[in-house]
């Protein structure tokens, strides 16, 4: 008897795009597609767009096999247990929208949803850089900082599904104001926009000569984290110092995370993940000053396996929770 492997449709819904892919039981993305997301449209129009995208890669019923699931990665707040999108700022189309149920009804398949950082964390934990580790701390760093905790192959959700928001752990309650309203969140210190803001402040204060302002066309307002990264790759001294500062903030923050959670592995993904990978050694060197864990330096700090496909892989991975319950 041949036991069929499960197959997952992973759907990545963002503020501006939808991507979807067919993912096998080993996390391999076999085919994928993408389209704009109609996040400013009505809830029904937005859902119709999701439907079109998913239909374009969905095998017809007879070809689906018995273990077929749909999982969605999308921005929160959302309720993963009830499968309801609550009120994400980036998805004004949906307020208290029962996305999992609507998907499940549309294709007559089991459907699950989770927030993007949690979903990507699970994909890394089971199929990516965290495979083989029991507790995984995943960080996606880009325009914001999202995190996800996976213990023994399951996303740690907390009381209402809102756990794992490590990007808003404050390391400086007098520090810069974060978009969330708290001060000194690591997101307000080490994300792309925070890096750009520190660059602008430094230029205004010191007026040094740096490639950063050149790459920004002379306009400080045009500086982005990306531009600081480009200047760093070209050997710019100011950009290098700004990135070293970012690494130092991340070490302070990871020290807190390790003292609380002591994960088996720390994984960095997201738009700035690659840029930061050159700084993992520095972060590791600084960790002992910011963790009471005498073995903190042993914890691997690694890059994510999934990059632009982290949402598709993440959506597929959250199906695993459902699949485990079905077995």
């Amino acid at each position: 008897m041949v036991v069929s492997e499960p197959v997952f449709i992973g759907v990545d819904i963002g503020g501006t795009k939808i991507a979807a892919g067919v993912v096998n039981a080993h996390g391999k993305i076999r085919e994928k597609t993408r389209a704009p997301m109609l996040s400013q449209a009505s809830g029904e129009e937005a859902f119709a767009q999701v439907r079109r995208v998913v239909d374009s890669i969905m095998p017809d019923g007879p070809r689906r096999g018995p273990r077929f699931y749909i999982g969605v990665s999308c921005p929160g707040p959302l309720d993963p247990r009830r499968g309801v999108i609550i009120n994400p700022p980036n998805l004004p189309c949906w307020r208290d929208f029962p996305l999992a149920q609507r998907i499940s009804e549309t294709w007559s398949l089991p459907a699950v949803i989770d927030n993007d950082a949690n979903a990507a964390a699970l994909a890394e934990a089971v199929w990516g850089a965290g495979a083989g580790f029991s507790s995984v701390f995943y960080v996606t760093i880009g325009t914001g900082i999202g995190t996800g905790l996976v213990f023994d192959g399951r996303i740690y959700h907390g009381r209402t599904g809102a756990a794992g928001e490590g990007g808003h752990v404050s390391i400086d309650y007098n520090g810069p104001l974060c978009g969330c309203g708290k001060r000194g969140c690591i997101e307000a210190l080490a994300s792309g926009p925070a890096l750009a803001a520190r660059a602008r402040r430094r230029l205004a204060e010191k007026g040094e000569s740096t490639k950063i302002i050149e790459l920004a066309g002379g306009n400080p307002e045009a500086i982005t984290g990306q531009i600081v990264g480009d200047a760093y790759r070209q050997g710019d001294a100011v950009a290098t110092e700004l990135l070293a500062e970012t690494a130092d903030y991340l070490a302070i923050w990871l020290g807190n995370v390790i003292d609380m959670i002591e994960p088996d592995v720390v994984i960095f993904g997201g738009g700035m993940g690659e840029l930061l990978s050159g700084w993992f050694d520095r972060i590791r060197e600084k960790l002992p000053a910011w963790s009471i864990n005498s073995r903190c330096k042993e914890i691997p700090i690694v890059r994510a396996r999934y990059h632009e496909d982290s949402g598709i892989a993440g959506g597929a991975a959250v199906c695993l929770h459902e699949e485990m319950n079905d077995r």
Copy 2:
């Protein structure tokens, strides 16, 4: 057929005392005893003292029943998995001492050890203020701040058993130096000694009239957290402000914990637990400014059930891990 309930000997080893008790399957302490701990003696002398204390309450073999366990709560660092005391500053008698194995051999019983905050957290989670909750965050606040995380009735240990050190989560990397070497740990801001230090600093700066200095016999060096607490209970305005400040630090810190872990309940124990219980409402009011969790105020903040017996109950509770594995 009558199925016998398990019975636990809970042993609480500290730097200056040993306590031990017989604890039933519902966390009730049936008899207990205490004696000085010989923490400055040799490892063997110290163990002989543990042996005397435990022997004084240990039923003889035939009366032990088939489900009988010994569990120890003691200061870390220790390795709960191997049952080895590593190098606790408060227990210089033991360095890499295989305490669980020695206990197990001495009484021919299953033996387990865990650090005091973890053990007390588990006792609260299964038998105390956390009973019925799935994820429990326990805080013991006194001369230091220790924490423990319990998920689904099991202590969360992390990679090497060093997780749950929430007292060393820093909320101010420029803040006061902590005994651990980090800056701005909540222990350095809100523990008893930190409260006393803030009182001393404030008196030196402002020279206000306050009961604190009166209760300290006019000697600022004699101020303790206990004295500030006593002054507060007598209505002293400065002490009240110092405690409000403590509550505010705790709110910032708990905001971080909730954003990461979103526990079902937060439990305060330890010497300052009672003093702080009058401030739980203020902490809860301040939480929304320091957590991005829109439902953070719903999380109960409560006092521990176990007080001076938290080590005995904790030692007994860690037997539950062993007992679950045996079933």
